[in-house]
């Protein structure tokens, strides 16, 4: 049935909480209010105040508590509201959550999920619009998931909750109201498996988050020009499904990486370096990068739109790839 991304996230939480009484959720405004976007609406009524808890505005305590709960046998889903607030608890995530098992040994399991709403959303400004995946790709020990469809969001959140490793689960704010087909009942999507969102033969676009939709729009435009674009959604940034990208490159020999965060030291920088290290012989041109300008996200809507890549900018990068064919 047709479901919104927001409903799909909520359904995953609800079904996992019904399935396993070790699962609980806590964070700012998740109980009566049902989270600021409405993701956890109705959860308090169904699962009660023991398993659905508001916290104070205390991001470091939310993460630390999730870690302690996970180590002692619960499966907490901690919510940080905005992805931007992961930075408030950066040390707790980077040093503690990610490294806990490494530092303490195999007797320590950290089955926790950190949910956050990320990305630009029409004038949210410099501190409520960031995409944070690339910051945490630098933290070995974490799993990082960034789903782009309702189907992926539900299946991957279920896998995240069942995982024995800490997961950073990034939900894009602009995707919450998008709709897609989601089957009734239980299904999971394996962590670390990319999805080809559109097959093509001329250029591969690896797009993350909101950029998947924009890459699909770009592919539509380019088809009219006779250019066939393959759009790959990694879905999981860590672990990254290299094989799906490599298979595509063996066919297209051209790649563009599209992301919403700042260009410098971003996801594109990492993927471009990795691809040229491991697939250099397959490349018929330099690797293209499309990313936000290296500037804080501006409040002014027109300038926000300018800073973040749109379908036109992705299409431009694809054309440039083919023009540089060597």
């Amino acid at each position: 049935m047709q479901t919104t991304y927001l409903q799909a996230v909520g359904a995953a939480l609800q079904e996992e909480m019904r399935r396993d009484d070790k699962v609980l959720i806590f964070g700012e405004d998740v109980a009566e209010f049902g989270n600021i976007f409405g993701v956890t609406r109705g959860m308090l009524e169904e699962f009660g105040p023991q398993r659905v808890r508001n916290t104070s505005i205390s991001e470091t305590a939310i993460i630390g508590t999730a870690l302690g709960a996970a180590v002692t046998g619960l499966r907490p889903v901690a919510e940080l509201m905005y992805a931007d607030f992961t930075m408030v608890a950066f040390s707790e995530i980077f040093h503690c959550v990610a490294k806990w098992r490494f530092m303490h040994g195999e007797a320590y399991k950290v089955p926790l999920v950190i949910r956050c709403a990320m990305g630009s959303s029409f004038g949210a400004g410099a501190e409520h619009s960031n995409c944070v995946e690339s910051l945490f790709m630098h933290a070995p020990g974490l799993t990082i998931i960034s789903p782009t469809t309702p189907y992926d969001a539900k299946g991957l959140l279920k896998s995240a909750i069942r995982s024995d490793n800490p997961v950073l689960f990034c939900e894009h704010k602009q995707l919450y109201q998008t709709k897609g087909e989601v089957p009734d009942g239980d299904y999971t999507i394996p962590i670390g498996v990319a999805d080809v969102k559109r097959p093509g033969t001329d250029v591969t676009v690896v797009a993350v988050g909101l950029m998947v939709r924009r890459a699909l729009e770009a592919a539509e435009l380019l088809q009219k020009e006779g250019i066939s674009v393959e759009v790959i959604d990694p879905r999981t940034l860590v672990p990254f499904d290299k094989e799906t990208v490599f298979q595509s490159l063996r066919k297209t020999h051209h790649v563009v990486v599209a992301e919403e965060s700042n260009k410098t030291a971003g996801i594109g920088a990492e993927l471009a370096a990795m691809i040229q290290e491991e697939m250099y012989d397959e490349l018929d041109g330099p690797i293209g990068r499309v990313a936000a300008l290296d500037i804080p996200i501006p409040y002014n809507i027109a300038l926000e739109k300018y800073v973040i890549p749109d379908a036109g900018r992705i299409a431009e990068a694809v054309r440039a790839q083919l023009a540089r064919n060597c």
Partner: protein, 321 residues
Amino acid sequence: MQYTAEFLKGVYRDLLSVRLFEEKQVEIYALGKVPGHIHSGIGEEATYAGVLATRKPGDYFKITHRPVGASRILGTPLETMFGELMGRSTGNARGLGGVLHMVSRENGMVGFSGTLGCDIAVADGAALSIQMAGTDNVSYVFYGDGTSSRGPVHEAMNLAAIWKLPVLFICNNNQFAISTAASYGVPVANPGADRAAAYGMPARTADATDALAVYDAAKELVDGIRAGSGPAVLDCKCYRWRGHFEGDQAKYRDPAVTEEWRKKDCVAIMEARLQEWNVLTAEEIQRIRDEINSEMDQAIAFAEASPEPTVEDLYRNLYAD
């Protein structure tokens, strides 16, 4: 005498186990057998021996970087501790975690962090598990006067208070944050207890040169927590005998004051009292010391004979299967 002989012997053995571990640590560090830095906790053992005498099965523990020998009280095998301390594959983290992570999960230890303060809320999480299970267990969390001013400590206290979590916050006030005296860095006399009122928590202070005084104060708070009254704070005042790390000459403080505190040695105080109360004789005390030292020497020999971790070990615990 309000304590049983068995109880007193137990507290003494815990106290001494930590002291001798801390001394041994310094000794083998000087011999170059330990990588990195160590932070000797000599003089601070009574906080742990006293507080932990109130524990029972099912409780959880978050210790801190000083004294790491407290892990021994909780039952971490010496082979594991020295294996980890010396960076060998027989350590709990195969020698990849190190001195700040010598723990045993099976004894209720939740782990601890070298980024002091970031791990305080881990005790809240353990307490949440206790609360969900509905038992009368307690989550014990130790931190120092230096850490007491960090934001995450206060966030953890605040959350524990609003959720009425069964947490005992124990501030081990050794009076120094590296070179910065608590009298400068903390605006109140008792870094833990004086801030408890802000969270509506009961608090006690204890003279942590006396393990039994610490026990009495902790017992009162722990009894309340087990009865369901929510979190509490215990402030234990002692003195850091040595520098922050080995090699720190501690020139920032008055040696005469250090000398005064050394005279209030928590181990010597306990030994005198046990002899006075006819619980242990001088010979028995010596036998216990010899026993613990010999166990440690065997564990060190075991660690030295243990293989170094391999490159494969690097990746083994990064993720669970």
